[in-house]
Amino acid sequence: MELLSLFAATKVDSATFVLGAVVILGGALGVVISRNPVHAALMLVQTLFGVAILFVAQNAHFLAAVQVIVYAGAIVVLFLFVIMLLGVDKDEMLAAEPLKNQKVVAVLLGVVTTASLIAVGRTRWTTGAESVVGPLEGPSRNVEQLAEVLFTRYLFAFEATSVLLVIAVVAAVALSRRADGTDVDADYIAGVEAAEAAVFEAGASEESDESEESEESEESEESDAEVTS
């Protein structure tokens, strides 16, 4: 009977949930299976969108918006930037396996984890007191409710997250600098400058070939002058 309770919901809700579940699980499997990191990042976007769908289905509208903007918008773009900049977008050797039976053991562990989580929940899925922080249902809307809680009860934690973000920015800058304070791409810039200099010298030597004779005559005149002096 418990398994059939999905059909106790209205058709629209059931369809939304099934659609979201298919999108989420398909994307998650795509992240794990795909060889190319770019494909994995795009599959991650699919999963994040699926989670946003289920957030909307559960009346968490603000979180759904943040999910799309922050996760799918910012974080995956950051991933793609790193993939493109590092040039690691080539296929991985999935068959190489330093540890014996690593994949089999990992899949077994995953299945056991899922099964035990579901088995634990079978008796009773939710326990605890209801509406401790504040009721979800009420006259005010989701964004207003969340804002009220964030700026009253969780104000200190909210301010702490701003400190955390500043620390993350400083850490990112510190990590991307070199210890001796030179530019990250100093080697690259030096290489480009050397190549440019080589091209410039080659061009200069070609020009000098054309005017070589006249220069030689000038030089000989100068040397004559030096001898006489």
Binding site: D13, A21, A28, V32, L109, G121, Y154
Partner: protein, 102 residues
């Protein structure tokens, strides 16, 4: 009537396990990092489901903080990954970090 909460919780458990399997099997550091994101999202989905079931806005507030921490974690983690790839060749995997064993 909306879908019962245990469907959402089972889905989140499956998503968490897929992320864990990916973290254990893949060797590309970037994809391992994406699998951590999958696991974080599974936990977020669980929080929102419990918030709905218990009629409590606190679950959604926690998800907000988890998202902020995840964003900070991605920034620092990708910085570390870039540092790893700079020391090693571009095709470095997690196996190339075995020096950390000491």
């Amino acid at each position: 009537m909306t879908v019962e909460v245990h469907w959402y919780l089972a889905l989140a458990a499956a998503l968490f396990s897929i992320g864990a399997i990916g973290l254990l099997t893949r060797k590309n550091v970037l994809i391992m990092f994406m699998c951590v994101e999958l696991m974080l999202n599974a936990v977020n989905l669980t929080f929102v489901s419990f918030a709905r079931e218990l009629n409590d806005i606190g679950g959604q507030a926690i998800v907000f903080f988890v998202m902020v921490v995840a964003a900070a974690e991605v920034v620092v983690g990708l910085g570390v990954i870039v540092a790893i790839f700079r020391r090693r060749s571009a095709g470095a995997t997690a196996d190339d970090l075995h020096i950390l064993k000491g």
